[in-house]
Amino acid sequence: MAIQYRFLLASVFVSCLVATCYGGVSFKTLQTTLAVTATHKEGVLKAGLDNITVTWALDPSAPAGADASYKTIKVKLCYAPVSQVDRGWRKTKDDLTKDKTCSHKIVAKPYIAGGAVATATWTVQRDVPTAKYFVRAYAHDAADVELAYGQTTSVDKKTNLFDIEAVTGRHVSLDIASICFSAFSVVSLFGFFFLERRKTRIAEAK
């Protein structure tokens, strides 16, 4: 019993250590070498229906050789600060493994050197919540570590934001089922009362 207990403790201890091995890249250390744009229709975008066209390229003003280790570009949909207020699960943290600002993946493409502008069109997915967003692209190296980024908004994330409206997830059939089952519960309750009254009247009559 003691040996099994010690083994359990040891494995819990080791697994905790393993988790702490992967520290994250600090966002502040990333260079801003990508120029990213996002185009979409006017007004509020609807999840599941509307498209966003994103483009990214190496910023002409970036120092030469900056993109030497870039292997993959990951473009993500990110929450604007106003949509992070009082929502700790969307918090911005400097450690990129703990950062929750950019939770929705738009597209991931291999990086093509040479300064050409890459494009991708993405239909807003159905599980994107209602909020204000901007688009950010991260450049990853061969080990999938972030090296640089670019975003469609300013440093303080206040300009050039767009709204997305989520799907409600409701369907008419669901609404009808809810109402029907609810009504049935209440009606069957009155049925019970009626049955109960009848039983006592029969018992009384005996």
Binding site: R87, P129, F181, S182, F192, E204
Partner: protein, 504 residues
């Protein structure tokens, strides 16, 4: 064993019974009518209500995105979920006293099922709060569970019956953290999108709740001898006067003390159900699934810890009577407070989970121990006293969440430590409970006149009511409750010679 609804004296029961036909043994694996069948029906329906009330927390990561909730909205909905039951539990106690636990619990369960069905059509923070609020009313079935067990099981096993029924019901709060994500995944795999799948998932607890209500109505029975309505008509049980029942409940100070102390064991349990997953997620950076499993294990300890508390209460009563029950309750609940303080202080994941599990055992056992004492506080107003105590539990949950776990005044770990301190302080009130016929924690039974069990329970009936014979059930109960004197009999005044007979 069949129960004939004919002559009162010729009923046969599957379990051994006392003079009130309450079972003197608790056989877990039997489903014999009426005692064990009622036990299984009541814990299953209470379990279903707990599953429904806490069905939202495990799915919150999806719901908060669908309904655009803020952390404040989520906190308010959590408080709403437990606050509805405060008054519902007291009302339920009254309903049990007047109409019987079978009708009362079937009615409440069916009336709150629509709230669970309508969770599927919630579309804003307000509607989410409202459905959680109304669903929370179903937690009042706790009172009917305890009342029903107290009506069917004798003093020797009432702590065990109450503890197992209450504990296995509370299990729902833990089981739902595992059930709802599973159901959600299943529905998603069938093809629904995330924001539709969680809505469909809520039909499962709602249907479960509805079916359990049907089970209670068709298969349950209020008392060993029949249902309230039949017994009222045949005259065997008189329909009591609400004002009198209410008066005797609110003027009994023991009910108020137990209500407050229950707020600091059960209330603390409900608060932890609402906040513990987030605590582990934020402080120790475990992922959501792991946090959910840890949260579930807190609630799942109820499988044995609350029943254990009830059994411990009965065990201590055999040797030390009511004084043993009170002392054990005080010790166990105070230790729960101590472990709560420790939980807020530890900083490593493994030790924290271990302390949480020990804490859960003590706090849930204290709940079971409390309901080892409640059946003896009043016989006439058992329902309202049970309701007050139960309601007090929810008040404790609201208070602790509002004081310690709302906004950013205290970090969660500081909140836990302070909550533990408050638990220890409020539990001291148990020292003030005193039964003239049995004593209290520090004093023995009174040696002056008018101090038998009959005196205590008969004081709830006026002489005109006694002339009409309304007090008969209380009289039988007071005879059976002599077991609360413990093994050292002779310390209480000798039984009255023949005086009770004049009232019969």
């Amino acid at each position: 064993m069949e129960i004939s609804h004919g002559s009162y004296n010729q009923k046969k029961f599957a379990l051994p019974v006392d003079s009130e036909h309450k079972a003197t043994e608790f056989r877990l694996f039997s489903a014999a009518a009426p005692h064990m069948r009622a036990f299984h029906l009541s814990w299953i329906s209470f379990f279903a209500c707990f599953v429904s009330t806490f069905a939202a927390p495990p799915l919150l990561p999806i719901i908060r995105d669908n309904l655009d909730l803020t952390a404040t909205d989520i906190g308010n909905a959590g408080i709403a979920a437990v606050s509805g039951a405060v008054f519902a539990r007291i009302a339920m106690g009254t309903a049990c006293d007047l109409f019987g636990p079978r009708l009362a619990s079937a009615t409440l369960t069916l009336l709150t099922a629509p709230a669970v069905y309508c969770t599927s059509i919630a579309d804003s923070p307000i509607s989410f709060l409202l459905v959680r609020f109304f669903t929370g009313f179903s937690l009042a079935t706790f009172v009917s569970t305890q009342f029903w067990m107290s009506s069917l099981f004798s003093g020797r096993v009432v702590g065990t019956a109450n503890g197992v029924a209450g504990g296995w019901g509370n299990l729902g709060g833990g089981a739902t953290q595992l059930i709802m994500p599973l159901v959600f995944d299943l529905i998603q795999n069938i093809g629904a999108t995330k924001f539709t799948a969680w809505r469909i998932a809520f039909f499962i607890p709602a249907l479960f709740q509805t079916l359990s209500a049907y089970g209670i109505f068709f298969l349950g029975q209020d008392l060993p001898d029949g249902n309230y309505s039949e017994l009222h008509k045949s005259g065997e049980k008189h329909k009591d006067n609400f004002a009198q029942v209410f008066h005797h409940a609110v003027t009994n100070y023991r009910g108020w003390i137990l209500a407050l102390t229950y707020g600091y064991c059960f209330g603390v349990e409900l608060t932890i159900d609402n906040i513990i997953a987030q605590y582990f997620y934020d402080r120790f950076n475990v992922n959501l699934h792991t946090a959910g499993i840890i949260a579930a294990s807190f609630g799942l300890a109820n499988l044995f810890s609350r029943p254990g508390g009830g059994m411990l209460s009965d065990f201590m009563a055999k040797r030390f009577g009511m004084r043993g029950r009170l002392w054990t309750l005080w010790v166990v609940q105070t230790l729960g407070g101590v472990f709560c303080i420790i939980l807020g202080q530890v900083g490593s994941l493994g030790v924290s989970v271990a302390v949480m599990l020990v804490f859960s055992v003590f706090v849930q056992a204290a709940c079971g121990l409390t309901f080892g004492v409640v059946p003896f506080v009043s016989r006439r107003s058992l329902g309202i006293i049970s309701g007050m105590t139960g309601g007090g539990g929810n008040v404790g949950a609201v208070l602790t969440q509002v004081i310690f776990f709302r906004g950013s005044r205290y970090s969660t770990e500081t909140g836990l430590t302070l909550m533990g301190v408050m638990m220890i302080c409020c539990t001291l009130l148990i020292t003030l409970i005193y039964f003239p016929q049995w004593g209290g924690m520090f004093c023995g039974p009174s040696s002056k006149g008018k101090t038998t069990e009959e005196d205590y329970y008969m004081s709830e009936w006026s002489s005109s009511e006694r002339e009409k014979g309304f007090h008969r059930a209380s009289l039988k109960f007071s005879e059976n409750s002599r077991s609360e004197r413990g093994r050292k009999i002779g310390s209480a005044a000798t039984p009255i010679d023949g005086t009770p007979n004049t009232y019969v």
